[in-house]
């Protein structure tokens, strides 16, 4: 059964971002369709994480606009982005080291928890029920990511691969419409990568979550993504289906270098 890829839900237009004298992104435009898996690739320093940071509201671009589901912004606010249903993982794992796996993923549910501080203090009625309900949801994510044995372990004590799964779990807890994954497979061995690919594909398949994914492993990119954007030195040099991009001259020379 082939996946139904929908209309454009994210439209990035002419984004330019600089830090002091360094131009991180120059006039980047691309779009993302609903339910697709869009990869962003490029050599190191191309500006891929900066692009995600712009979408996410962590950086404010000097120029350009971002349209999500018909609403256009010239800069995003982190909190609003989360309420709009965009979730994200980080390249360097921004987990809450002092808390357990369970608590880390539960923080992803905070947006949906409505009971006020007084009810929480008394822990009766609505507060208790809400906590239970969200716990049930989080347990499903824990099952999905196969980290049941570690749920009470403080995150700082887990190996890197498991921490990456917790990061993904926290993003999933937001029940996002769009998932921004920043190098989710970095530092993993073949088995771990296969597991992670499986998770990403399952999320995309079962829940229809749109995925924007930064990744270095070409095998992964070619296998699971529907369309690819290629960045180099902050400029877009390729955009299209994986096969098209793979045969693009400019992309090849960006990665391999050309002899002049």
């Amino acid at each position: 059964m082939s996946k139904k890829i929908g209309d454009v839900i994210l439209d990035v237009k002419n984004i330019s971002l600089s830090f002091g004298g360094v131009k991180a992104l120059s006039d980047i435009s691309f779009n993302v369709r609903e339910h697709e898996i869009r990869a962003i690739i490029g050599p190191n320093g191309a500006g891929k994480s900066s692009m995600l940071n712009c979408i996410n509201g962590v950086y404010t671009p000097q120029q350009g606009s971002i349209t999500f589901r018909g609403r256009t912004f010239d800069h995003m606010d982190s909190h609003e982005v989360a309420t709009m249903g965009i979730a994200r993982t980080f390249q360097n794992l921004a987990l809450f080291k002092g808390m357990s796996v369970l608590d880390n993923i539960m923080t992803g549910r905070n947006l949906r928890m409505k009971s006020n501080i007084f009810l929480q203090a008394l822990r009766i009625g609505p507060a208790e029920r809400e906590e239970e309900m969200h716990r049930a949801r989080v347990e499903r994510i824990i099952d999905f990511l196969e980290i049941q044995a570690y749920r009470k372990t403080p995150v700082g004590q887990l190996p890197y691969g498991l921490q990456k799964r917790v990061d993904l779990g926290r993003a999933l807890a937001l029940e996002p419409q769009m998932l921004l994954l920043d190098e989710p497979m970095a530092g993993m061995n073949v088995e771990e990568k296969q597991d992670m690919c499986r998770f990403v594909l399952d999320v995309n398949d079962e829940f229809g979550t749109t995925v924007v994914l930064i990744e270095h492993d070409m095998g992964v990119v070619m296998d699971i993504s529907d369309r690819v954007v290629v960045l180099d030195y902050g400029k877009k040099i390729g955009d299209g289906a994986p096969d098209e991009v793979r045969n693009n001259e400019e992309v090849i020379s960006a990665y391999l270098g050309t002899s002049h």
Binding site: H79, L95, F96, T107, A127, R135
Partner: protein, 358 residues
């Protein structure tokens, strides 16, 4: 090592999420409460109540408040003395200016005023953190020092600058004897400890800890730093304010602003550091330690001096306190930054697997 902790399987999340999931722990806590409410009054003498137990209870309550702000939410505060003062003076003014004000209500209102002041001086936390925030909270401390010293209205135009209360009555029962004062403070502490524990294991507690651990990531998953930080200041100041009221009303009886000086702020911060930041039990450990330490020094140092043939003056005892405090703070920060609470849980873990080393 006294009892097996595993084998008690939980069949619902509600059971798993209890404060004390293990049956023996639950029994243990009830026994502890029974001992505290019934056993201690039977065994303790007046000196113990007056000099150790009542100050311990009130300072533990204050340390609880400080722990929420500093330990759970990671916002450094050196203004806790000021918040205690606000609670005390506000409660005083409620009692004195409103006819027939019940004591408990006055204390709670003192907490409310402290909340307002706390939230106001918490606003800088939205802009700065660490040392800079510490300086901002010191501004609160010194401003309140001055306000309660110079603004006559707060002290009801008292000539001497100090205020006093007497003949405390709560729910029709007089709070005059040491035992009554002990029960009064103990009740407050138990209730607030339960409420605080509930808060830190709920969504708001997770927000606080998220802000503490990585505030940028917290914003990205939809936590509002403004709400989290200000609510931490609010809850913390409320508890500290009530503790301040208890300190003035129940422990001191009559007080002046110096009772809530910057030294008090440092003392509370030390309690939280030594006891364990980010652990409710840490506040109790820290308060007990710091209340007992001067007394221990006062007993043991002269004994030691007697053994060695050296006389130890009272001044020397004060200096020794300073030296030992300072050294302990540094030592704990190096060796066990998570304080006595961590030592306690490590100790329990070692007992669990005893006699195996690991």
């Amino acid at each position: 090592m006294l009892y097996r902790e595993n084998g008690q399987f939980k069949s619902s999340y509600r059971q798993d999420q209890q404060i004390f999931p293990i049956l023996q722990d639950r029994i243990g806590i009830w026994l502890l409460l029974a001992f505290a409410f019934v056993g201690v009054p039977l065994l303790a003498n007046e000196y113990l109540f007056r000099a150790i137990l009542v100050p311990f209870l009130i300072l533990a309550l204050a340390a609880l408040g400080v722990n929420i702000l500093v330990g759970y939410c990671g916002q450094i505060s050196l203004g806790s003395g000021a918040f205690m003062a606000v609670g005390a003076y506000a409660a005083y003014n409620c009692m004195v200016r409103v006819e027939g004000m019940p004591l408990v209500l006055a204390l709670l209102l003192g907490g409310v005023f402290s909340t307002l002041v706390g939230m106001f001086f918490g606003i800088p936390s939205l802009r700065v953190k660490g040392l800079y925030l510490a300086v901002a909270t010191l501004a609160a401390q010194f401003f309140c020092d001055w306000a309660f010293l110079r603004v006559k209205w707060f002290t009801n135009d008292s000539a001497s600058g100090s205020v006093s209360v007497s003949d405390l009555v709560a729910f029709g029962l007089p709070i005059n004897s040491p035992v009554a004062k002990y029960w009064f403070c103990l009740s407050f502490l138990v209730v607030f400890a339960l409420l605080a524990k509930n808060l830190v294991r709920s969504a708001i507690g997770r927000e606080w800890m998220a802000i503490r651990d990585m505030d940028v990531a917290a914003a990205v998953i939809g936590i509002r730093p403004v709400y989290a930080k200000l609510s931490a200041f609010a809850v913390s100041s409320f508890i500290i304010g009530v503790a301040g009221g208890l300190w003035g009303f129940v422990y001191l009886g009559s007080w002046e602003p110096a009772a809530f000086s910057v030294d008090r702020s440092f003392q509370l911060l030390f309690m939280v550091i030594l006891g364990g930041m980010g652990a409710i039990s840490g506040s109790f450990f820290g308060a007990a330690f710091i209340v007992m330490l001067p007394i221990a020094i006062n007993i043991f140092l002269p004994m030691l001096g007697g053994l060695l043939g050296i006389g130890i003056s009272t001044a020397a005892l004060t200096h020794a306190e300073f030296i030992i405090f300072g050294a302990l703070i540094v030592w704990f920060l190096i060796v066990e930054p998570h304080g006595l609470a961590r030592l306690w849980s490590v100790g329990k873990q070692k007992l669990r697997i005893w006699p195996f080393p690991h």
